[in-house]
Assembly symmetry: C2
Homo-oligomer: 358 residues x 2
């Protein structure tokens, strides 16, 4: 089993854990290495549930902060092992997982080992299956079996945010908008009803849709309503009797699930709408005292997070949560995924400064 040296630099540790591939469903080798390394640290109480590992200090501090990161990546596409590269004179670590989100995990592992006496009690969470259906996530499982381990006054997700603090996140809704018709031979099309033609107003409404920009607790959340898939048709000589358009609505955290659904049903009024996936966003939570101290300590200007992340899971449990991690989120899942080494160092410094200040 590979051994991890948690006293190495965060960049070296990033390289080491990226080079232990951990595509969703295949996180065990990395989880084993982490479990082994943190179990050796006497200041941490360590739990393991499948490939999710929780390590906690129990210093009797007045407050507790949860800091979390997922271990899995999207599939490798010829982008491992990692490489050191130089882009316009800036040093990067290149390869799958460097951005999403092993640099963040490496910083967490290093600080988990180093900070034996932080200003708040800490709960470190490293979990499996973030890049797949939410129902398979290690956090979903743990929230059911050990909700007590989520107890915290504030949470930080190490998702890539370019070293900035990204507050909250948009919610996401997926729906199938459907038209139906009647099949006929295309040589006698007037005997049928063309379901694809019937979808014309759906696409027109999508094309004309103007997404809102919604201020929530001082941050502005930009929404979006988009077709992500369309399908219809039986054969080259048959009038199609079904057309399905999958739409994805990203909605500001000030709207709840019911409001998001109502909005989508209104936009597609007159058509069959089936909601297939719905997750509320998270308010930025930056009015919490700990959050304000955190933002001040790391010297960041908070901005809104658009993509859904597990901050929403903490938020739903009443724990204000933000994203703070190295790496450009636009490069997550990218074949040229790469993280600036200086950003890894900056996030490490920011977290250390806050967690050790008094």
């Amino acid at each position: 089993m590979p051994r991890l040296d948690l006293t190495a630099s965060a960049a070296d540790l990033t390289r080491a854990i990226c080079d232990i591939p951990s595509v969703s469903d295949d996180e065990t080798a990395l989880a084993d290495a982490i479990f082994d390394a943190v179990s050796a640290l006497p200041h941490l109480e360590v739990h393991r549930d499948g490939d999710t590992i929780v390590a906690r200090t129990n210093l009797g501090r007045a407050q507790r902060v949860a800091i979390a990161g997922h271990l899995d990546t999207v599939p490798i596409n010829d982008n491992l092992p990692t490489r050191d590269i130089d882009v316009d004179g800036e040093a990067f670590l290149w390869g799958r997982g460097t951005v999403d989100m092993k640099a963040g995990v490496a910083v967490q592992l290093k600080l988990a080992a180093e900070l034996v006496s932080p200003r708040v009690d800490l709960t470190w969470l490293w979990y499996d299956h973030e890049e797949v259906e939410a129902s398979r996530s290690g956090l979903t499982r743990l929230a059911q079996t050990r909700p007590d381990l989520f107890a915290a006054d504030f949470a930080i997700l190490g998702e890539p945010s370019g070293g900035e603090v990204e507050g909250g996140c948009n919610g996401t809704l997926r729906a199938i908008v459907r038209t139906r018709g009647a099949r006929a031979h295309s040589a006698r099309s007037w005997m049928g009803q063309n379901a694809i033609h019937a979808a014309a107003p759906i696409l027109a409404r999508l094309a004309d849709y103007r997404a809102a920009e919604v201020p929530v607790e001082g941050l502005v959340y930009r929404e979006g309503l988009n077709a992500v898939r369309i399908s219809g048709g039986v054969a080259g000589n048959v009038i199609p009797d079904l057309c399905e358009i999958e739409v994805n609505y990203r909605f500001a955290p000030s709207r709840d699930a019911a409001e998001a659904e109502r909005h989508v049903r209104e936009v597609f009024e007159g058509f069959e709408v089936e909601i297939t996936d719905l997750a509320e966003g998270a308010r930025p939570g930056l009015d919490a005292a700990l959050a304000q101290e955190f933002v001040a300590a790391v010297g960041a200007v908070p901005r809104a997070k658009y993509g859904w992340t597990d901050v929403a899971r903490f938020s739903a449990l009443g724990v204000p949560a933000v994203n703070y991690g190295p790496g450009d989120p636009m490069l997550a899942h990218h074949d040229q995924e790469r993280v600036p080494v200086a950003e890894i160092v900056a996030v490490e410094r920011g977290l250390r400064a806050w967690l050790t200040s008094h």
Copy 2:
């Protein structure tokens, strides 16, 4: 090998050849049985090319008529063996191939055996692979290797026409109309360009399209322009960069291929159009003297054929051709495919009356 009794009734012969399954690619058993049966007839000169069989009289008549039918069917779907059924008091033969087009072939086989001295010389053609790409059709092959066998003054295709005479056929064109965009994460949709939304005007033009009704030599051909398939999308969280709509244009036989293509490109002006399939129709050819005699003899009122059939192949070789066969074309390829026994008898009588009149 099953033996065919060409002196049986046309209905019994239909049943016998339907119960020798002959889905495209699997016509050999039926072709063998037919070759065996017609080879025993001294008044016919028989050729075989793969699973296509040609049987000709050589009586020195002033005129020659080609009468053709295909041997293959679309796939069986729990609808063989054949059954005798009764619908509202009318006797039907039910099962795959009864309509498209073994009842027509059975009538042809019976008359090929019986008519030793018809009023015109006859060329009977039974061929393979009609239900698949035109390039694989036995007629395509034969037209290249033995064009002399197509020589005729008039041709009759036994395709189902409900016992009526259906003249000519519409042409058919298929094209892909394409929109392109730029991928982005759907949480930041404004970074991309949605190709599915961009297809809105294409569907609107299709929905608004009013198909022409075009008179050609006394028959009216109804056209049609339809989407038959649509596809687009990458994943549930990605703005799609491509949307493809397959359209099928059925056009009157007065338009040639270039005119059909020009029309489709005009309708979708401003969009990428790729023509993927294009076959001209056939003029009804009912002004030919033999055609007029035929229509009078069988006592039918000619109407336009909408679906493309091999009449177009004869028409392209300068041979006027019509469809005349038992069975409702709406039931072709249907799982409840069934032919009225009385229609088999009527078509047999019609053909016999004309071919033996003087």
